[in-house]
């Protein structure tokens, strides 16, 4: 390893990618995350200062899969020499699909929340490792070593998660969430998703959709509904009142928290799994 190699300047457009860049890059990267914890990535718009940060970056990490609607404008206005990696675009797409009497808002839409699959996160780690190595070949061994160590942590997480989910009967694996962000989670752990809003947090449910969802929750004997934020507590209150389902707890769908358990990817996944299992087992 070269002792005096300048750290790479990495700009990230999600808290999950900032955590990943830290895990792989260690002290060989300086990370600037533009989408802060608590900021809705579906609604985020970069500021002039954000554009300047991108102009000076060596690597920009985006979620991809159309999560960042502003990406082309940001690329054009920032210029610079950065390598852009839309991590999710290198992963297979997962479409939303109907479940029983419940139909998603747009059956052709792609779920951009790929990080809710641990296997996707492992692949993302390899993509980031390769991008960092390409930019700083002298640090290849360092990045490979850190990626291997992180891969082991992700394997442990996956094993723990599968054993936890095995505590929930398969006919109880029905997840009612605020917005449709858990299709990858559902695929990996055998859940069916019924979301209140659509793919984006900005999508508001119609009264017809609420009625349909209430019927589905009753018909499917869903035990709990989960929230991401209390943006529309009236809807959640109406659903629990009409169905008898309980509030299962808060899930982190779009990113990490500023502090606490869910401030790292692994912590966030542990929080989500524990919350779901506790409410549905």
């Amino acid at each position: 390893m070269m002792a005096n190699a300048a750290p790479l300047r990495v700009v990230t457009l999600s808290t999950v990618l900032a955590d990943l860049a830290h895990e792989i890059g260690g002290d060989q990267v300086v990370i600037t995350n533009l989408v802060k914890p608590g900021t809705d990535p579906h609604e985020f718009q970069p500021s002039p200062d954000d554009v300047r940060q991108v102009s000076n970056a060596d690597l920009v990490l985006a979620s991809g899969k159309d999560m960042e609607g502003y990406l082309n404008k940001l690329k054009q206005s920032a210029g610079g020499h950065a390598v852009w990696l839309e991590v999710g675009n290198k992963l297979p797409n997962l479409h939303f699909h109907s479940s029983g009497t419940f139909t998603p808002d747009d059956p052709n839409a792609i779920d951009p929340h790929w990080w809710h699959s641990v296997s996707n996160m492992k692949k993302a780690a390899f993509f980031v490792r390769d991008a960092l190595t390409q930019l700083q070949p002298t640090q290849k061994d360092f990045f490979v070593q850190r990626t291997d160590a992180y891969e082991q942590k992700l394997d442990d997480l996956d094993k723990w998660a599968r054993l936890q989910v095995a505590l929930v009967p398969r006919d109880q694996r029905k997840l009612v969430t605020s917005h449709d962000a858990f299709q990858y989670f559902a695929r990996d752990f055998g859940f069916i998703i019924y979301s209140i809003a659509g793919v984006s947090t900005g999508d508001q449910p119609s009264s017809q959709k609420i009625v349909s969802l209430i019927k589905t929750i009753r018909d499917q004997h869903v035990k709990a509904v989960f929230f991401e934020s209390m943006e529309n507590p009236k809807v959640l209150a109406e659903i629990t009142r009409e169905t008898g389902a309980k509030i299962g707890g808060e899930l982190f769908a779009d990113g990490l928290s500023a502090d606490g358990e869910a401030s790292t990817y692994i912590g966030m996944m542990r929080h989500n799994i524990s919350t779901v299992v506790e409410a549905l087992k």
Binding site: R162, L163, P169
Partner: protein
């Protein structure tokens, strides 16, 4: 029909009562049958599963869990283990967790888990491992 109207009415009523009694006798449930047998079997009614686990190398220990509860466990030098368990089987199936540990230094080994219900083998899985393995097996 002859006779006065009152007599004729009584005869008609008596005939109806007789017919009602006859129909009631025919339709009365047999004492051997439940009063209201369900049209379909209860979907999640527990059923008997025979679970068999066979090792090639004796395990230090192993157990099979369903929804967090141990339904079969054991240790070497025995190689073959089986049990019968009453498990509710939803349409979506059930998951069994198989955790096995072999003694330190044991060579790579193999374990086979079979599951039967209603005289039919519905699961037959073989796993290779060294040291320890944890597998989640979907049965349906």
């Amino acid at each position: 029909m002859r006779g006065n109207p009152l007599q004729r009415l009584l005869v008609v009523i008596a005939a109806f009562i007789a017919m009602g009694v006859a129909v009631g006798v025919v339709l009365r449930p047999s004492a051997d049958l439940p009063a209201s047998a369900p049209a379909n079997p209860v979907p999640n009614a527990p059923q008997t599963f025979k679970i068999q686990v066979d090792f090639v190398q004796a395990p230090a220990q192993f157990h099979v869990l369903h929804l967090g509860k141990t339904i079969l466990e054991g240790k070497g030098p025995q190689l073959n283990f089986s049990t019968e368990a009453q498990l509710a089987m939803p349409r979506e199936g059930i998951e069994l967790v198989l955790e096995a540990t072999w003694p330190k230094g044991a060579p790579q080994s193999v374990v086979r888990l079979q599951c039967e219900t209603g005289g039919e083998r519905i699961t037959d899985r073989t796993f290779w491992g060294r040291g320890d393995i944890t597998q989640i097996i979907l049965v349906r």
